[in-house]
């Protein structure tokens, strides 16, 4: 029973409990890293030997890819977090008690995300996403400033409602399956549902999908359900912003995609892609325009995440092997890049003592290594080569043009608007005369380098096994 998938879940759960008990902060930070590293090791083991899917846990190409990604970014974030949190403690923003809580929650958050990815049971999936919401709500309110509490409150209410709607969708899903699969757990098991998807009532499926899309879509940050996202990113600790952007959004989108696959498998149901393309485009355009007026650097990049999720949702909505492949690639690369950007932003905030964009200028002059890393990160997220997001964006645009040329217009427009804002800010953040006082940087930038190198490497050359893997997932997604 103790296979890789279980281990992946067990390690963070155990460490979450353990970290609640550990008091010394340094030790806690190290244990956090160790736990994440072990999780990563367990996740990697899934690639080598893949356990059988059971009624509770599902292991296939799609989620192994996301599990590895999640574990990897979780690990690098824990490394970054160790340096970052030490700084926070030094500056007195965090008390030891909250710190203990933070580390435990970090692992708990990892656990819930991994559970959501691995769950085969729709109810379990829902519980895991709900758990992820709860843990992150607590993390966002960690600083207990009025702004943090407000952000957390907003986050909680909006995602609480969203999650409730998702539950309604899940119940509907069961309702649809019940006549075919009979009563009991089978009606909630994804693998079973997929097999009989063609036989269930398409209209209930449609209804269910709408609730699921709005519900989990809130968590993805689809417009106009995205309001919680920027504030939660901005007011929480930066490592949490990194994992929120890099991982949680993916997990929520993953949930949507699982249900999309069910709908696609039922021939008579509506095409879920249309809804997703429309919402994806809307999200892209809205977020791109929102970028222009941002003054807080973390909010800025949070909106950029929304924009990117819009692109990814659009790509998956478009469907087809090329767009699905591109969506998967974009998802992974966005996680790596955006978390790297948040790492850099975290350091920049510490160096300048402010989150305001106006207070952070000329980073390449005052902190060359940090400034150039941040710049490269933005260049990457803007979809410029040699970074991989260029390739995925190219595939998305080309796929769109090939499939339905007129959809390319809003897509390109959105990409362009977002690009303009990113460049605007990239220049003011990284160039010009440095504003204000600036402290020297102590923390290591290695996690940023690793992420950016990976993104660049994938942009130049994807290993054949990875390509084959992505292809099989793209086929799975239909």
């Amino acid at each position: 029973m103790l296979n890789g998938a279980v281990l992946v879940l067990l390690v963070p759960a155990l460490f979450a409990g353990l970290l609640l008990l550990v008091k010394p902060e340094r030790l806690a930070a190290r244990l956090n890293c160790v736990g994440s590293a072990l999780t990563l090791a367990a996740a990697l083991s899934l690639i080598v030997s893949r356990p059988q899917s059971g009624p509770t846990l599902l292991v296939d190409d799609f989620n192994v890819y996301l599990v590895v990604l999640t574990a990897f970014v979780g690990f690098t974030t824990s490394l970054f977090s160790a340096g970052y949190i030490a700084d926070e403690v030094r500056s007195g923003r965090l008390t030891p008690l909250r710190l203990r809580f933070y580390h435990a929650m970090f692992q708990a958050f990892l656990f819930t995300m991994l559970l959501a990815l691995l769950a085969n049971n729709l109810g379990l999936l829902w519980v895991a996403v709900e758990g992820a919401t709860l843990t992150t709500v607590l993390m966002v309110s960690l600083y207990r400033t009025p702004a943090a509490i407000e952000a957390a409150w907003k986050y909680f209410i909006l995602c609480g409602v969203g999650i409730a709607l998702a539950l309604f969708g899940t119940i509907l899903m069961y309702l649809a399956a019940q006549p075919v699969l009979g009563s009991g757990a089978a009606g909630m098991t994804w693998t079973e549902l997929l097999e009989v998807a063609a036989e269930v009532d398409p209209r209930i499926l449609n209804l269910a999908f709408i609730f699921l899309l709005v519900g989990y879509g809130t968590k993805v940050g689809l417009a106009p359900l995205n309001a919680w996202l920027p504030d939660a990113h901005a007011e929480g600790p930066t490592p949490i912003s990194a994992v929120l952007s890099g991982l949680l959004l993916n997990v929520a989108l993953y949930a949507v995609l699982r249900f999309k696959m069910l709908l696609a498998a039922n021939g008579a149901a509506m095409a879920p892609g249309v809804l997703m393309t429309v919402m994806g485009l809307g999200t892209l355009l809205l977020a791109a325009l929102m970028l222009y007026r941002r003054r807080d650097v973390k909010r800025f990049f949070a909106y950029s995440s929304i924009e990117q999720m819009g692109i990814i949702t659009f790509a998956f909505g478009l469907g087809g092997p090329l767009a699905n492949f591109a969506g998967l690639l974009h998802m992974a690369l966005h996680s790596l890049t955006k978390s790297a950007i948040f790492f850099a932003v975290g350091h920049a905030i510490h160096a300048k003592g402010s989150q305001r964009i106006a207070d952070i200028t000329g980073l390449t002059v005052s902190h060359p290594a940090l400034g150039w890393s941040l710049l490269l990160g933005i260049v990457a997220i803007a979809g410029l080569p040699p970074f991989g997001l260029f390739m995925s964006e190219w595939m998305i645009v080309s796929g769109t043009v090939g499939a339905s040329p007129w959809l390319a217009l809003p897509l390109v427009l959105g990409l362009l608007l977002g690009f303009g804002a990113l460049i605007l800010r990239a220049q003011s953040l990284c160039f010009g005369a440095p504003a204000g006082d600036s402290r020297p940087l102590q923390a290591s930038l290695a996690p940023i380098y690793v992420h950016l190198l990976l993104v660049a490497a994938i942009g130049l050359w994807m290993p054949a096994p990875l390509v084959a893997w992505f292809h099989s997932v793209a086929r799975l997604l239909g």
Partner: protein
């Protein structure tokens, strides 16, 4: 930028690599081989990327390689000159060195790409690298805006190209050029792809009104980078245009050419008028680039029209004119930008109004720049004239087009081309005359010192080539045969009786007969006559020479302020050409008699490209962003409302559909 082994290594390496590229391109063109293919393992999964060298890319590669080599030499010497000048210090080497080779590599990548992905990859690398190079002067006040605008326009261009390639690739996703060529997509989609290609490549090349970024960004970079951006990056953009319009998109429609020729004419005249209004010498040169791009596009447009009309020989003539001008412009524009760089290194200023008399202080740079200016003014026997001559010959064949509108249209295009050529001469007279002749207008100009040998070397090479190509254009035209064959299906027929000494384009193949030009003979005879006159005067006329104060109609000599300035030189032209479109207005306030206050002269002009294109677009984006920004500041209840509305809307849609 800077001394030290690292700079030497990087510039040395880039220079050698660029020379190598030049050599390869040259060898390929001489041999007239079938295309060289090379599969490379990077690139998008399943598609891979391939490098292809054919006649068309080799021509452009030649220009890039040559310019890259001289720019490396110039860059290596540049920092050493500028660094010790008081009040002037070049950008930090670390901000230039890493990106210079990357920039070159990006351009080479575009030219060698054998598929859409490789092309766009190189294209974007080229944009990003040059953007970062522009930002190397980020502490100067105008740079950030220029850089920002530049990259955004570049993104517009590359997205247009991306969609264009996507359309040409069709639903089969045929992204390699070979496959794209073979498959035809529907007429409507091809039309869209062509328009997008013109927009995309045109914005990079500087077609009016998409040129707005160019005169801001090119001058902001260090001069050797400006030279590359203006001299060859615009050409790389034109390569994209040629590749798509002549090669990938299949048989053209007449309107492709008409569109391109119209835009090109507009660009040529507008570009040079802008240039006449500039005070910053590097910006002036950048606008002159716009003009030349206009001329090239105009010729390309003609070539397309003739190709569509089933007149491949004349199309080849126009196309060869365009390509020859590509090479020529890359030569003289790099030369001119190096010269401007030398001026900046020597004086620390780019303002025309503070220069003057530099011919005495930069005795070696001045004649080189004179050659560059004369070439840019299309004076025989230099290279600029050879390509303009060919262009005019193509225009003269306009009546052979079968559509009436086009016949007349080509004549109008001819007026524009002629006007642009004449204005260009005025523009470069102003440039050279104000900066190098007369008396120095500022202390910086007085204190200028000649630049060092590497900088001079970098200028000598293109200057020599300007002359060489000018007198023997026939030789260069032979290099263009393959390109013309790829683009229009046939090469320009071999020249007249004396082979490469002559430009005698169409000859017997139909069209005009007996038109010929030989730069070589013009130079030979003019040189002989000049020598004769000189000898005669030496022998028979008085040989005394006396220096005295300038006569100036007997007015007592006053300071250098009394000279014509750049703005006053352009005043008659401004009144004739710029008072309408550019709304150029002058305000003069003279002190009353007896008052001792200074008189003032205020010159204002508006840029229609900004007024009618760029600003409205930005204003719309800004307005939208402002309106939507309210979404960030709603109450939670309203956010819930949005969510509720979304849900109910979706449900309602479903209820209706069900």
């Amino acid at each position: 930028m800077g001394r030290g082994p690292v700079a030497a290594l990087i510039y040395g390496g880039s220079g050698v690599a660029a020379l190598l590229v030049t050599g390869v391109a040259f060898a390929f063109l001489i041999q007239g081989d079938s295309p060289w293919h090379l599969k490379i393992p990077i690139g998008p999964p399943g598609l891979g990327a391939s490098l292809v060298l054919d006649g068309l890319s080799a021509v452009f590669l030649l220009a890039v390689g040559l310019a890259g080599a001289t720019a490396s030499v110039f860059g290596w010497g540049y920092g050493r000159d500028g660094a010790h000048k008081p009040g002037h210090h070049g950008p930090a080497p670390a901000r230039v060195l890493p990106f210079f080779p990357l920039f070159l590599a990006g351009m080479v990548m575009v030219l060698l790409a054998g598929d859409a992905f490789g092309f766009l990859f190189g294209w974007e690398v080229m944009s990003v690298a040059s953007w970062l190079l522009v930002l190397s002067t980020h502490d100067e006040p105008e740079t950030p805006r220029a850089a920002r605008l530049y990259l955004v326009m570049a993104a517009i261009g590359s997205l247009c190209l991306m969609v264009s390639f996507g359309l040409l690739a069709g639903p089969e996703a045929a992204f390699s050029f070979t496959a794209m060529r073979e498959q035809g997509v529907g007429d409507g989609l091809t039309a869209l792809a062509v328009v997008l290609a013109v927009l995309g490549a045109g914005s990079k090349a500087g077609l009016v009104p998409l040129h707005i970024w160019l005169p801001l960004a090119h001058p902001a970079a260090p001069s050797h980078v400006s030279a590359l951006m203006s001299g060859v990056m615009t050409k790389v953009a034109l390569y994209g245009l040629c590749r798509i319009l002549f090669d990938l998109a299949g048989m053209p429609d007449w309107w492709w050419g008409a569109l391109l020729a119209a835009l090109g004419s507009l660009t040529a005249v507008a570009g040079v008028l802008y240039a006449l209004l500039q005070d910053d010498i590097k910006r002036l040169l950048a606008y002159s680039t716009v003009e030349n791009v206009g001329f090239i596009c105009l010729s390309l447009g003609l070539a397309l029209m003739f190709k569509a009309d089933g007149k491949p020989v004349i199309a080849a003539l126009a196309f060869s004119a365009a390509l020859l001008h590509v090479l020529n412009h890359s030569l003289f524009k790099t030369l001119l930008f190096y010269g401007a760089g030398a001026v900046v290194a020597a004086t620390g200023t780019r303002s025309l109004e503070t220069l003057g008399g530099l011919i005495h202080r930069l005795p070696r740079t001045a004649p080189l720049l004179l050659i560059g200016s004369a070439a840019a003014s299309a004076l025989p026997p230099l290279n600029g004239f050879a390509s303009e001559w060919l262009g005019f010959q193509a225009i003269l064949n306009g009546p052979q087009l079968s559509l009436w509108g086009l016949k007349v249209g080509v004549m109008v295009v001819g007026v524009f081309a002629a006007l642009a050529a004449a204005l260009a001469a005025a523009c470069f007279l102003r440039f050279f005359g104000i900066a190098f002749l007369g008396r120095p207008r500022s202390a910086e100009a007085v204190a200028a010192q000649e630049v060092t040998a590497p900088l001079q070397l970098a200028m000598v090479v293109p200057a020599l080539l300007c002359v060489l190509v000018g007198i023997l254009p026939g030789l260069v035209l032979r290099l263009l045969h393959d390109a013309a064959a790829i683009a229009v299906g046939t090469a320009l027929p071999a020249s007249g009786s004396l082979g490469w000494l002559w430009l005698a384009p169409v000859g017997q193949a139909g069209g005009l007969a007996g038109n010929s030009y030989s730069g070589f003979f013009v130079l030979l005879v003019a040189g002989g006559l000049a020598l004769l006159v000189f000898r005669l005067i030496r022998r028979h006329a008085a040989s005394g020479l006396r220096r005295a104060d300038a006569w100036g109609c007997g007015y007592p000599p006053v300071g250098p302020v009394s000279q014509y300035s750049g703005a006053s030189f352009a005043q008659p032209l401004r009144r004739v050409f710029a008072s309408g479109v550019f709304q150029a207005r002058e305000q003069v306030s003279m002190p009353e008699p007896g008052e001792t206050g200074a008189a003032s002269h205020l010159l204002r002009w508006r840029d229609p490209a900004w007024d009618f294109v760029a600003r409205p677009v930005w204003a719309t984006v800004d307005w939208l962003a402002g309106r939507l920004n309210h979404l960030q500041f709603l109450t939670i209840r309203r956010y819930l409302m949005l969510m509720f509305a979304t849900l109910v809307t979706l449900l309602a849609i479903m209820a209706v559909l069900a």
